[in-house]
Amino acid sequence: MAKIDSSSPPAAGPGPEELDDYMSMTIAEPAKPAEKETYTQRRIRKQREAEARSRPKSKAELAAAAAAARDDALSTALPNSSKGFQMMAKLGFKPGAALGASSNPNARTEPLHISVKEDRGGVGMQNEKKRKFREEVEGVEKKQRAEEGGYRERVGKEREEKRVEGMFWGAMRVLEGLEQPEGRDQVPVKKVNVLWRGLVRERQEKERERRARYDLHQGFSRSAAYVDPEEDEQDRQALGKEEEDVEEEDEELNEFLNLEGKERLKRLVGYLRKEHQYCFWCKFKYVDEKMEGCPGLEEDDHD
């Protein structure tokens, strides 16, 4: 009686004594999902339903049920099968027509609407509440929608900024290669073209960090901020503790770096073209100022 075969109709035929159908049924289930339930499931469901029925309904539930039944009945017209209708039909009444003189424009076809006042709100309060609620809902929705749109936009913008920033660094490196092909660090930072000075400073900062970490590892337990009162300024300079003051205000660089990424890139690209006849987009150094073969100034021109 083991019906492992999932294709056979499960458990419908066998008598109720076959409790072991349990197995076959569960296996059969995937074949007809949600159509059949196990004995246990059914038993539980029935039990739950019975409980729901026997449970005294809460006042709110009762009120809701009563209101639903009322609204339902209020919106259902009396059937044409009623005795009243038949009597009226004998007097020439047609369904959908109104009573009274045929020319009367005041005749009603629907009964008056019933509305029960549930609070002491003044005239207009109900609608005011509805209006406020509607506005609130609309407001929330709008905000959500606005935020949604903002997110996408922002992410796109951020990605674009990142890309531009990447290209900016790339362009700086190109320019560095063009302007200082032989070795680095030979020119004082402040003398470096502001367009790629950022690159130099970045490199120096990284270097300093590396050194500090190295010192840490080497056991010089001296904090960078520690100032030995014995040492004078020259000593310190000599010991390399106070090389150049990189942190010192570099107005020019800061101003440049505060520009938007696009602008910085634009200036860099422009400078590369003008001074080095190099097109950042073509990745090519042209021979003369005409830069023949380059499709244009913008990235879009190079698609």
Binding site: K83, G100, R108, P111, G122, G124
Partner: protein, 858 residues
């Protein structure tokens, strides 16, 4: 407590055999305390059956009611008059204005008048008896005066002629010398706005059968126009009457009194009134103020309204059910009676609607005498209109100059509550802020008349000399909107709500619901502030809400009512084509459908829609068909005395009083009367106890002690008397089972089923909710019920809609009774699948099993 009443004097009726063919008249004289001669001379008695049943002054002895005393005095006087009038000597004096041939007509004999009442309408308008006079009796004793009026060309008179007659020296109608009071009133009357247009009115009135007259409050239309009509129409020569209808009983009474004073006659003589249960008219009456319902009742027995030469429908803008029905009827009657003139008077400006309804009748508008009223709106909608209105009233009291306040609220409880709160706050203001004294009066329909009268008391004087002036504040339902005029009101506070009856045929619920008023209503309310001087109206809603949320005019009652009673009336009025009956605002067809269906189930109409014998009988009672049918079938259940009491109790306001200050005590007292099977039987217990010797020794004290309303019980008593008279007339037996009979109460419950079988609810499962049979509405018991017996089936008097669906006034019944007494309605095949059907099926099975076992035993 002895719950059994002493039925003597009101129950246990010994039927007296009627010697006369006209049983009605005999019935009248029956309890008339011996004065019989006058009976036939009574105009109302010779005429329609209906009317005397309704209109008779109450003469029962139990109630020591002043009104009753007064009426009986009047009655006696009338009877003397009648005798006098029937004196041939006196009669000769009246020859002049009376067509000669009438003098010898046997119809003139008041003792034979009843023989001639029926053919009246066939004889055309000049038969001379259609107004019910037993004989020609206009009492124009002063010859000179008689001629002064007699020279009036009928329907050709002018204002100047009327003025001449009014100036005396003798009363143009009674011939008596006119009093000085008359002349002083005459002076003020001539200052009324309508007086300026008397000629204009007369010309229009003479030219057209219908006339629409629009006069704002204060124009004097209600008192003056009927008098204008009298002078021109001269109903006394026609031996007819001028009728002026009012939607309210109180208005009919008070206006009649006022006009009687203006005409310098005794109320009940030339000028009288006729309201349900009270007829203050005589054979001299030429102008009759009456409720619109009364005129409708008269029309049922006199389809052409032959008694009247002119009918004035006043306050037509109120659009009561009776007024609307009358308007439809008058449109038809006017075609059959070209001599009948009809004046429609309205206070609002939607007169065009009336005009076009009455075949483009001419319109005359008279401005009211009102002062400008400044209107204020709130900037924001109010969260709580009651709280806001209290605040506004107190603010007016604190900061506005002298002048009384009128606040509109919705119902008794709300009004009493507001009054209490205003008094408390005002006392504090007087103590702490030196405000002037403030007296607060409630005003609503169920308030005893002597308390209603208090609103006319003058405002209190300043508490000390030179102190701030006092004022009164009246907190009223919309009674004060049109019908009652209170002078001195300068400030009106209008929260914009009123309690309105609403009916829906789909769930068959007829309830009073608090609803926003209409713009027309709001305008009326505001107008109340400008009666004496320029006033202010504070509307507790925004101007935007006024324009957008309020409907233009209040829906007429015909759209808000169950029409089964009206359908029965219309059938009785001889109108068969109900579908095309020309109402001004025809209701939804479903309303008529439901009404016809209900009447068919009640067996008042057959399947063709014709009035059955039961229907004819039911229409004789001024009751809802449900109650009428219950009453008529009650002898079958051996309890017509009890059902009669119950019917009366169900047609008056709430018997039980439950003041906020003593709820617990009131409930305890109620439980003394409680019958475990329900509220109907409990009410009956109260009535029986009330009629007992202990209570009758001092009814007022007894009612006070037991928290029941003396007024309601007295008026139930009154209604009972009237209904009893109708039952006697139609030979419906008054019977009772002995109180010891174990079926005494069961009989009554079964009799209830005979009328109320369409108002039954069945218990749902084991919860506290019930579901109404056929409409399947979930309902719960109203908290006021005394029901103690667990029962699956309940019969209810009312389905009340509030935030919850309640059934109120319930009694337990058995499904067997339902199927036995109302087999057509409880035909099981007509029910859809559901708990009700299965319950009925179970009952059928049970009954069958029982019968089977019975049969086997035999």
């Amino acid at each position: 407590m002895d719950r059994r009443p002493d039925l003597q004097g009101q129950g246990r009726f010994k039927r007296r055999k009627m010697e006369d063919t006209d049983s009605r008249n005999s019935a009248e004289s029956d309890d008339d305390g011996g004065v019989k001669v006058g009976n036939f001379a009574q105009p109302t008695e010779v005429k329609p059956k209906k009317e005397d049943l309704d209109a008779r002054p109450s003469r029962h002895t139990e109630g020591i009611d002043q009104l009753v005393e007064k009426t009986s005095k009047r009655k006696r006087k009338k009877e003397e008059d009648a005798e006098e009038a029937s004196d041939p000597y006196i009669a000769r004096q009246h020859e002049e204005p009376v067509p000669k041939k009438k003098e010898l007509d046997p119809r003139a004999n008041p003792y034979l008048a009843h023989r001639y009442e029926e053919p009246a309408e066939d004889e055309g308008s000049y038969n001379g008896y259609s107004n019910g006079y037993g004989r020609p009796t206009n009492r124009m004793n002063g010859v000179s005066n008689a001629s002064s009026l007699a020279r009036f060309p009928r329907h050709k008179s002018t204002a100047a002629m009327a003025k001449n007659a009014e100036d005396g020296p003798n009363n143009p109608f009674s011939g008596q010398p006119l009093s000085s009071q008359y002349f002083s009133i005459l002076k003020t009357r001539r200052n009324l706005p309508v007086h300026q247009q008397r000629d204009e009115f007369l010309q229009m009135y003479q030219k057209s059968q219908f006339l629409v007259f629009v006069g704002e409050t204060g124009s004097g239309k209600t008192t003056q126009i009927p008098q204008f009509v009298l002078f021109d129409d001269q109903p006394h020569i026609q031996r007819k009457l001028v009728a002026c209808t009012q939607p309210r009983r109180v208005a009919a009474m008070s206006v009649a009194q006022r006009v009687a004073n203006e005409m310098d006659v005794t109320l009940g003589d030339e000028v009288g009134y006729n309201i349900r249960f009270e007829d203050v008219t005589s054979q001299k009456t030429i102008l009759k103020y009456m409720t619109d319902g009364m005129l409708l009742r008269e029309a049922m027995n006199d389809n052409n309204l032959n008694r009247y030469s002119t009918i004035i429908l006043d306050e037509a803008h109120e659009r009561t059910l009776a007024t609307d029905t009358l308007m439809g009827l008058l449109k038809e009657v006017a075609q059959r009676r070209p001599d009948l003139k009809i004046v429609i008077m309205s206070a609002t400006l939607d007169a065009q609607k009336f005009q076009s309804y009455f075949n483009d009748a001419p319109l005359l508008a008279v401005p009211g005498r009102t002062h400008p009223v400044e209107i204020f709106y709130t900037p924001e909608p109010e969260r709580d209109y009651v709280e806001a209105s209290l605040r506004t009233v107190l603010q007016i009291h604190a900061s506005e100059p002298e002048g009384d306040i009128l606040l509109f609220l919705t119902g008794e409880e709300e009004i009493e509550d507001a009054c209490r709160k205003i008094r408390l706050e005002a006392d504090e203001m007087i103590r702490e802020a030196d405000a002037g004294p403030l007296t607060v009066y409630p005003l609503y329909g169920t308030l005893p008349p002597n308390q209603q009268q208090k609103i006319f008391d003058p405002a209190p004087p300043p508490s000390k000399k030179g102190g701030r002036p006092g004022r009164k504040c009246i907190v009223s339902t919309n009674i004060a909107e049109t019908s009652l005029t209170i002078d001195g009101i300068v400030y009106v506070v209008d929260p914009g709500f009123s309690k309105q009856k609403i009916y829906n045929p789909r769930i068959r619920v007829e309830s009073l619901l608090i609803s926003p008023i209409s713009r027309a209503s709001a305008q009326q309310r505001a107008g109340r502030a400008g009666r004496t001087r320029p006033g202010k109206c504070f509307r507790l809603y925004t101007e935007g809400a006024f324009k957008k949320e309020l409907i233009e005019t209040t829906h007429p009652e015909v759209l808000r009512s169950n029409l089964s009673s009206t359908v029965l009336d219309l059938k009785k009025l001889g109108i068969d084509d109900l579908v095309h009956f020309d109402l001004m605002d025809p209701p939804a067809p479903e309303t008529l459908m439901r009404a016809l269906e209900e009447l068919n189930y009640l067996a008042c109409l057959d399947d063709e829609g014709n009035l059955t014998a039961l229907g004819k009988l039911a229409s004789e009672f001024p009751l809802d068909p449900t109650l009428a049918v219950m009453l008529i079938s009650s002898p079958e259940f051996y309890c017509s005395n009890e059902v009669l009491s119950l019917t009366a109790l169900l047609s008056v306001p709430q018997v039980f009083v439950r003041p906020a200050s003593a709820r617990k005590r009131a409930d305890e007292m109620k439980s003394l009367f409680a019958h475990p099977d329900g509220d109907h039987l409990t009410m009956l217990n109260v009535y029986h106890a009330f009629k007992g010797p202990e209570a009758q020794a001092n009814p007022k004290q007894w009612c006070h002690d037991h928290f029941v309303s003396l007024r309601a019980l007295q008026s139930a008593d009154n209604v009972r008397q009237q209904l009893k008279r109708i039952m006697e007339t139609h030979e419906i037996e008054l019977v009772s089972a002995p109180f010891e009979d174990k079926n005494y109460y069961t009989n009554i419950r079964r009799a209830l089923v005979a009328g109320f079988f369409m108002q039954v609810a069945m218990k749902e499962g084991n919860s506290k909710t019930y579901v109404t049979v056929k409409d399947n509405q979930n309902v719960i018991l109203h908290p006021s019920t005394v029901l103690q017996t667990e029962s699956d089936w309940l019969l209810y008097n009312e389905f009340v809609l509030t935030t919850k669906n309640y059934i109120r006034t319930v009694t337990t019944v058995k499904p067997e009774w339902l199927m036995d007494i109302a087999p057509t309605y409880y035909d099981i095949t007509e029910f859809g699948k559901g708990p009700v059907k299965s319950a009925l099926q179970r009952t059928i099975d049970k009954v069958r099993r029982k019968e089977a076992t019975k049969g086997r035993k035999r």
